[in-house]
């Protein structure tokens, strides 16, 4: 096994092994646990960095393992995969730091961090999967490893949320499996191919392919929280904040959106999909989700619920960009995969920090919190403005490309959707900012436990500042070589190659 | 009609009677009896296939099979009866709960 074939496996192992070891640690061995976690995360970032450099220089990293007769498990680092692996690897490190601080002193931490690492492993697998079978294997692994995290607290409410989560995700994966097996029956074994792998199929199978497309999108749409399959996401808010951050920014939702990208671009191919006539319905569905999620977010008082509905809305930007024909919208959709992750994780870090430090769970309790925790709220503000699409933040780049792409494609209604969505984003984020910065504190905070020299435990504060900085950086330096935008352009260019 | 056909018919008759008794009778001892009668029915069918008329020697293979069958039957019967006695001692009944409930 050469280095090039080993690398994708090593990327998985760098979180799998620490995860498995952590299960067997005793509860009080928190130093060993943290060390293992951080070591795994750093090693992973290093490995991903090497891979990133290699892929940029057109090296091929690929691992195969025969799984079924005629079907291999294939892990391969392509440009799209690198986008998600880099995002996940980076955010895993900051989330780990955040989680260590957040969960300090609470029970079952070995279990938590064990599943946490497995969850990241599954996400890496999803990113590197090079055919639908491999994608499905890790997609399911993700379901199974996130369930214990969702019900981590063990309260009746958490158990109920876990049940909802399972009902949605398992039903989704059942549909997905059906679609995958069927597609293999129709098309034979194939790998992800830029520009699509199905265009050789004649018109007699187009009817079947329509159904299969619907099945696949429904399957990945559950995790991507496309309306009406989004029901689990707000409920899953009972999970601890690091889990929410993971669900929304790094793993689950992202896996679903990533699946949409893979299915449209590399299974069907955007041109073939457009010929089939499936892109417009998908775009409509995404638009519906964007508006619906935003509308629901406006009326939520619970901060995490508001953020959850915001995710429902924002993730569909990706699907919208992907489903709109034209390379510019594609760039917007793909780059939003990264941008949404960075922005949303910042928001969740801040929400978790507020809850942990001051016991704040609702927007109405945030009066004047900007004075008490200015750094946290600065981070929050940066991310929120990014979400709204204020330049030069990351979100602006996404929306810009989406908008230009819509114009290019002659789909004016998308502009309207984007505008409405931005207005709604402002409608649910600006009041928070107003409350936090400009209102006076109503009295004592519910429970105040600052730890350390800063306004909050540094492990809770630092991650949000780092990611907030990234929100600005990805916007400001969008045109540099290693920026997400450059990668997105690369991917889109290959997809639209004649 | 020859002896083979006659005893085959008797065999299937015994099997049916046994099966009917097995299903209809709640008492476990009777179920065991019924199983034995079903077994005898199968033996009769097999033995009839061995019959090749009064002049020719019969086929010894079915005879051996039936001998084996008889020994298997007695083993199963002895075991079933021992189990039945334990159930009777433990529950005071010699039938299965769902049968007596009816």
């Amino acid at each position: 096994m050469s280095w090039d074939t080993a690398l994708p496996v090593l990327v998985l192992l760098s979180s799998l092994v620490p995860g498995l070891v952590i299960f067997f640690l005793r509860e009080e061995q928190s130093r060993v646990r943290t060390a293992l976690n951080l070591a795994g995360a750093v090693v992973k970032i290093g490995l991903v960095g090497i891979m990133l450099w290699g892929v940029y220089h057109e090296r091929h990293y690929e691992t195969r393992l025969p799984l079924l007769p005629g079907l291999d498990l294939i892990l391969r680092a392509d440009a799209l995969a690198m986008l998600l692996t880099t995002l996940s690897a980076g955010l895993w490190l900051v989330t780990t730091i955040f989680a260590v601080g957040y969960l300090e002193g609470s029970p079952h931490r070995s279990r938590f961090f064990g599943f946490f690492s497995l969850c990241v492993t599954a996400t890496m697998g999803i990113a590197l999967a090079h055919n639908l079978l491999t994608f499905f294997v890790f997609y399911e692994l993700l379901t199974l490893t996130t369930y214990p995290l969702v019900i981590h607290r063990g309260t009746p409410q958490a158990l109920r949320a876990g049940r909802t989560y399972l009902v949605y995700t398992l039903a989704g994966s059942a549909v997905l499996l059906l679609g995958i097996v069927w597609l293999h029956r129709v098309a034979g074994p194939f790998s992800f191919t830029q520009g699509g792998a199905l265009s050789h199929l004649g018109p007699q199978s187009h009817g079947t392919l329509l159904v299969i497309f619907a099945l696949l999108i429904a399957g990945v749409g559950v995790k991507a929280a496309l309306v009406p399959l989004h029901g689990w996401l707000p409920v899953a808010m009972v999970a601890p904040a690091p889990v929410s951050a993971l669900l929304h920014a790094v793993a689950v939702v992202k896996a679903g959106a990533f699946g949409v990208v893979r299915v449209v671009y590399e299974v069907f191919g955007i041109r073939f999909a457009a010929d089939l006539g499936v892109t417009t319905p998908l775009a409509l569905l995404a638009a519906l989700t964007i508006v619906y999620g935003s509308l629901r977010a406006v009326v939520q008082d619970d901060l995490k619920r508001r953020l959850a509905y915001s995710t429902v809305s924002q993730v569909s930007y990706i699907a919208l960009g992907v489903a709109t024909p034209g390379s510019i919208s594609s760039i917007g959709g793909i780059v939003h995969l990264v941008h949404q992750g960075i922005m949303k994780i910042t928001l969740f870090f801040c929400a978790g920090n507020l809850a942990e430090t001051l016991g704040i769970h609702r927007v109405s309790e945030m009066n004047g919190v900007g004075r008490r925790m200015p750094w946290t709220m600065v981070a929050f503000t940066v991310a929120a403005l990014g979400m709204i699409g204020v330049p030069p933040m990351a979100g602006f780049i996404s929306k810009w490309y989406l908008g230009v792409g819509a114009v290019e494609a002659g789909q004016g209604w998308i502009i309207a959707v984007l505008a409405a969505s931005s207005a709604l984003n402002a409608a649910y984020f600006l009041p928070i900012l107003h409350t936090a910065w400009f209102k006076h504190p109503t009295g004592e905070w519910k429970e105040e436990h600052p730890r350390g020299r800063f306004e909050a435990d540094w492990r809770l504060l630092l991650p949000s500042l780092v990611t907030a900085a990234l929100v600005i950086a990805t916007g400001l330096f969008a045109s540099t070589v290693m920026s997400p935008l450059t990668w997105a352009k690369l991917i889109a260019a290959r997809e639209y190659q004649p | 009609m020859n002896a083979a056909v006659l005893y085959t018919l008797m065999g299937v008759g015994l099997f049916s009677i046994g099966l009917h008794g097995f299903l209809a009778q709640p008492h476990l001892l009777r179920k065991v009896l019924a199983l034995n009668i079903m077994g005898s029915g199968v033996f009769a069918v097999l033995m009839a296939t061995a019959w090749r008329g009064p002049q020719l020697p019969p086929d010894p293979v079915p005879h051996a099979l039936v001998l084996t069958g008889i020994v298997v039957a007695v083993s199963a019967t002895a075991f079933a009866l021992a189990l039945l006695r334990r159930i009777h001692t433990a529950t005071g009944r010699a039938s299965l709960p769902e049968d007596t409930a009816a």
Binding site: L144, L177, P189 | T49, L83
Partner: protein
Amino acid sequence: MNAWIVWPVVVPLAAATLSVLAGQRMARVIIGSATVAIVGALAGLTLQVWQNGPQRHVIGGWEPPLGIQLYADGLSVVMLWMSTVVGALIGVYALGYFAHDSGTTGTAATGEHGDNSELFWPLWLFLWAALHALFLSADIFNLYVTLELLGLAGVALVNLAGGQLALVAGMRYLLASLLGSLAYFLGVAFLYATCGVLDVRMLSTRVSAHPAVWLAIAVMTLGLLLKTALFPLHFWLPPAHANAPAPVSALLSALVVKASFYLLLRLWFQVFSVVLPPVAGQVLGILGVLAILWGSVLALRQQRLKLLVAYSTVAQIGYLFVLFPLAGGTAWGAAAWSGGTFHALAHACAKAAMFMAAGTMMAALGHDHLHELAGMGQRLPLSMFAFALAGVSLMGLPPSGGFVAKWLLLDAALASGQWWWGAVLIVGGLLAAGYVFLVLRQAFAPLPADVRYRPVPRVMELAALSLALLAFLLGLMAIPPLTLLQIGAPFVGGLGTEALP
């Protein structure tokens, strides 16, 4: 001596004899070496089959039709591995189980049980031998004897639990088992009367569309369905499997029901295939579907862990029978055949692990009421983990063995245009998730303070975990067994997607 084929039968029989004669301590040595010997012989046999195709062994040198022949093809070998590996790990588990059990008023018993647990070993060895004999025999009457051997050993093992429930369950099991054997025996008599041979291979060339053959097929199938506990003939299974001692439950659910299924497979596809109309397979398939639904729904309604697992067996048996309507066409027959048999394999590992894990929890708590298992994830994390991994296989999620089986069956269903069988597989998987998570969510519930808990031997947890891991990872090593299954299979050809141009 390269006749490896006989030793999987002879060795456990010899070990059973010796273990009765020897003392307790010697018995362990005997059983241990017997296990090693069986694994060795099986490895030899596998190599032979792999290299030279199906193996035959003419017992006593008397060629069929006069004598009896042993026959091993890929299917037999896979089944033998299943029973050997699962059986051996159950044996390891039983070491801990009975050590834990003796001297205390533990699990299932009324307090009067105890030293008859030493009978577990000879009975278990006899059961093992009976399974292996059944997987290797190529003579329909000899198969009848092995069926009886298997049935009696199974019932005797159930009764080891003592106690009223186990006795009654054992009796119900015994009666069902005997009735099934007798029906099979009647079929044998009719087949001999019509065809004049007992050898499976010769029979397959002589059966014709004749009333007596029809009848033989019908009664043999019914008898074997009763023994396999296919809905609606499953009534005896849940009480017997739930009330037996845990290692016995594992043996019965994982292996014993598979034996009669295996026999049915052989008869249908290798003896009667010429005379069976396709509609017959559809009937079995429909019963399988009903079993999946009925078993799952009842599993969801159980209050006791072991009953839940037992009803899950009723449901999982249903999957095996989805094979019958699908294994017909040329393009997808191989996928259905491999999928069905692979499911038997995966279910054996998963279900044994599940019963073992359930038994461990029961041994620790003294009961198995579902709603009082809260916090088990903290008390017995390994067992809970084993249960979860086994559950993943039952749900058919990757990378478990259950996933591979489901994929292949689904593939066959879609390929044959009978997508509704595939839909049932999917629904069944979701229902399985329902009852598995019913248990798993208890693991995360907070641990009540006042629960009495007895420590259990570590070996029990480890044995269950190894089987569960095997079930979970079986999908990653599916190629060798799937290739083996093709050797001597009625449907040869590319599997799954390879079948397409």
